[in-house]
């Protein structure tokens, strides 16, 4: 039996917004693409998201947000990842963002932002090309 490195992804919704249609659709699409998806759903604080990402040893965190509260939660999540020496975890965002916020989010380390209308296949393709399962610790 050969060693198999599976991509592990956390899908979470920071903040108080409960509109989880997008988060659930993408979680399913990722499962159907062969990824292991840890789903913690709505109403997550940045602290909860980072703690989960580390305990679950995910390669990527996908944040879904529609409320405009990304101005607080996204920078806070990046800061916490750095504090925990976990900045190697890729972070992407999906949802609605004012245009001028997108470069700002990228400048703090959010790798990609997917807006309304993004195709699932496009997102999966991006993940395959840009996120590799972390190298084995013990190799």
């Amino acid at each position: 039996m050969k060693q198999e490195r599976r991509l592990r992804i956390l899908i979470a919704k920071p903040g108080l917004d409960g509109h989880d249609r997008g988060a659930r659709v993408i979680a399913r699409a990722f499962r159907d693409a062969g990824f292991e998806v840890v789903y913690t759903g709505c109403h997550q604080t940045p602290e909860q998201i980072v703690s989960t990402a580390i305990q679950e040893d995910v390669d990527m965190v996908g944040l879904s947000i529609l409320s405009g509260a990304h101005t607080y939660s996204f920078p806070r999540i990046m800061e916490l990842l750095r504090e925990n020496q976990a900045q190697d975890i890729t972070v992407i965002g999906g949802g609605i963002f004012p245009l001028e916020d997108i470069p700002k989010l990228k400048s703090i380390g959010i790798k990609e932002i997917f807006e309304p209308g993004a195709k699932l296949q496009e997102i999966i393709g991006w993940v395959r090309a840009n996120v590799k399962p972390r190298r084995a610790l013990t190799a």
Binding site: G41, G68, P98, L120
Partner: protein
Amino acid sequence: MGGKLFSESALERMEKEYGQWHQEYLKALSKMPERLDRFSTVSDLEVRPLYTPLDVKDQDFFEDIGFPGMFPYTRGVQSTMYRARLWTMRMFAGLGTAEDTNKRFHYLIDHGETGLSTAFDFPTLMGYDTDSPLARGECGKCGVAIDTLEDMQRLFENINLERVTTSMTINPPASIIWAMYLANGENQGYDRKMMGGTIQNDCLKEFIAQKTLMLPPEPSLRLVTDTVEFGTREVPRWNTISISGYHIREAGSTAVQELAFTIYDGITYVEEGIKRGLKVDEFAGRLSFFWNSHVDFFEEIAKMRAGRRMWARIMRDRFQAKHPRSMLMRFHTQTAGCSLTAQEPYNNIIRTTTEALAAILGGTQSLHTNSLDEVYMIPSEEAVLIALRTQQILAEECGVANVMDPLAGSYFVEALTNKMEEEALAYIRKLDELGGMVAAIERDYPQMEIADAAYHFQQQVEKGEKIIIGVNKYPSERPDLEFVLKIDDSLENGQIERLNRFKEKRDKVKLQKAMDELRRRCEGPPCWENNVMPALIDAVRAGATEQECCDLYREVFGTYSDRGSF
């Protein structure tokens, strides 16, 4: 005398000629095939090329269609419909602070809006004050921040609360926000018996779709029933629940699922009211509904017509309601937020217009039209004015409000109405089998049905089976609109300072006494003596904040979070 519309001999001839037409149709298709492999509604309900009396031959005019304002109300809930009074133009509005929103309210009233509708920010919706650590970055972003009775007073400054009806989209904390509204109204000298409006207060669809979750289902229903009971006795012009399909649809359901799950939520609320000891005809007349009007024109009209008929029959047959008012499905409609595109946003005006027209032809009692920029943010004044004007143009220029239920008798619309009812009834039977809505929610049944539909739709979009102009056909980039509203993060600090000042000047003893009484009622068995509403009104008057009341709820009743089934 039966109400069959077509004679046997006419139907016979139709069948023959239908066959002839069908031959011609197939012949023509052999030269030029149909544009699509399959024609279906946005909910993926297949539609045939042509409808004839053969599709509605079993329909009975008196049983199934009838007259406006008469059972089964398929054609509308009033005998006059829009001839006497147009639907209420009620634009969902809320942004920033109470003052900002009050300004927007006045702007809308000045431009001809006829009812108010309040959008609260996420902390308010979830039962947190602005100073909660969980509220960071949310203040005023998606609605107005209301923490205290003072905020409520600022929100409705210079608005006559006996003349204008107000709808408030608030769910788990609905009882508290309503208590603030009533307390403020009375402080301003209005009589609660004369104040009219709506609190959304539909906890079931939160578990099913929107996930504004606070308490487990059982205590959530208890609080809803407390408000129904209080409304019945004390605030007779208030709609105490707006049983909402809107959010179910936005979460990705089909039109049939929206219809069925919403009506079943309604059934559950009626059952709870009866369990409390209320008579169905005492309170059912104050239940109202809230539909989504999506982009598939005929499907929406059929859904609204079917909904009225179903509710009337359910109230008569399942609950033995006697009073006609108990059987009326009065409803508000909002055009579908999920149909808007970030790409080429001006096209959203066209989508909204079509959806609004469907709502009008579907016989809505009030209407919110989305603004073209609502896909990005709370609408700007520029965009909201276009949206309001859309309704006014439809109402006053286009002639669509002059004749009641003008699509009745359309073979297609009647057949689709029947189809909606039939499929929704199958869901209702299934929910009965599962032991009711709360049991079904615990098994994730409606959640899974919606998740499946949402995923199916997304896959259809990806395959190009469902078209969204500017997205998967004629794709286009999102432009930079110059008038998109920005809510400043600095608002939060101002609101927190205001909240702190408010808390400092409260009479602590009086507040404690009021909160003790609220706790006593919450801990006691549900009944009129333990109804939370009188205690809440006292508590907010004594200075209790929204979160303080919600924290008490959370302590007594426990909390609940979504389980995210797949």
